[in-house]
């Protein structure tokens, strides 16, 4: 499994995805291969996929530290930790000064698993932004 297999699969889905979502994949070059995945109608919240030796990492960036009301950082962190189990297939994390939701799949996952993960991750991201927006400036 590498990002090109994933891109080929998602691009070939067209109307045949089981999740009703249309994907558009764009590789980003750099020291590691990253795939930028846009979902039709949600282009503002792309998902970035990278593949390591043992896992497929799918990351959706939520917001930067600077978008959070300073007095809300502590309750937000606590809510993120509390929602970590209920939120399916994804967890919260902080990368540098950005908050993200991410999902990690085994390298041996099927393409259907990857598609399912991306769909749920995107839904999680949209819902998290909607429901945690009280913490944001």
């Amino acid at each position: 499994m590498n990002i090109h297999t994933i891109a080929d699969h998602l691009n070939s889905l067209a109307d045949n995805s089981d999740t009703g979502m249309s994907f558009d994949c764009q590789p980003i070059s750099g020291e590691v291969d990253v795939l930028q995945i846009s979902i039709l109608g949600r282009e503002e919240l792309p998902i970035f996929v990278s593949v390591t030796e043992d896992q497929i990492l799918c990351i959706s960036y939520l917001w930067g530290v600077e978008e959070v009301k300073p007095e809300c950082i502590a309750p937000m962190h606590e809510s993120m930790l509390e929602m970590s189990i209920p939120m399916p297939l994804s967890s919260f994390s902080k990368i540098g000064d950005k908050y993200v939701v991410f999902g990690a799949l085994s390298i041996s996952s099927s393409l259907a698993d990857v598609e399912h993960e991306l769909t749920v991750l995107s839904n999680n991201a949209v819902e998290v932004i909607d429901d945690m927006s009280d913490f944001l400036l």
């Binding site: 999740t19 189990i85 939120m87 399916p88 429901d131």
Partner: protein, 230 residues
């Protein structure tokens, strides 16, 4: 309130309200029914789409057939005019006019089916997204409730067993001590093993008749005699 916010509120309540449902059992049943309804709706939309696409293809075939027939009859009318047979030409023209009216109707039907198919495709995709979204939300509710009930069971089990709750640091210390003890035991076993190998060698030497013989033929015979006297 959204499901996500309800769950945020519920988990914040903590272990003390573990028994409390995030959405009551009845609401969960309604939620599950909604998912089944949406799935039925999706199945129906997919079946409708298949039907409409079949009609669209049939209309397309009819349009093609009418166009071919019109072209053909235009040829006949031209030939009749060339022969100066205006009456025949007019009869053919009447046929063409009827075919054209037919064609226009079929073309409109085709366009209507195509538009309908497009709309149904979007509807199918929208329903698929909704079913996936509802399932995701129901999974959140069920997971949260399961974790709360599991926590409650674990807490009850722990209090009834009267075991002393260790701090994380104490647990770690004990685990490390056990690890150390295990490593020591392994090292001791290794030493013992190499000693055993020596003993084994000694035993082999003895078997070869080298070194002390602790079991002489006479003592064996005495033993057998003693057994017989019993």
């Amino acid at each position: 309130m959204s499901i996500f916010k309800k769950i945020m509120t519920a988990v914040r309540g903590g272990a003390s309200e573990a028994g409390e449902a995030i959405i009551d059992a009845n609401a969960t049943r309604i939620f599950e029914q909604e998912i089944r309804d949406a799935e039925n709706h999706l199945t129906k939309a997919k079946r409708d789409l298949t039907g409409v696409m079949a009609e669209q293809m049939a209309a397309k075939r009819e349009v093609d057939r009418l166009q071919r027939e019109i072209t053909e009859h235009e040829g006949y009318a031209g030939q009749a005019l060339e022969k100066g047979d205006e009456t025949l030409a007019l009869a053919v023209a009447e046929k063409i006019a009827a075919l054209e009216s037919d064609l226009s109707a079929q073309q409109q039907a085709h366009d209507s089916f195509a538009g309908n198919a497009e709309r149904l495709k979007e509807l199918v995709k929208k329903s698929e997204r909704q079913v996936a979204e509802h399932k995701r939300q129901l999974s959140m509710v069920k997971t949260t409730e399961s974790v709360q009930k599991a926590t409650s069971a674990i807490t009850d089990n722990f209090s009834s067993s009267n075991s002393k709750l260790l701090s994380a640091k104490d647990s770690l210390e004990r685990i490390k001590a056990k690890q150390q003890k295990f490593d020591d035991k392994m090292k001791a076993a290794e030493v013992l093993e190499s000693e055993n190998s020596d003993t084994s060698l000694e035993a082999q030497l003895k078997a070869a008749g080298i070194g002390n013989q602790d079991s002489s033929a006479n003592s064996v015979l005495d033993r057998i005699k003693a057994k017989q006297k019993q």
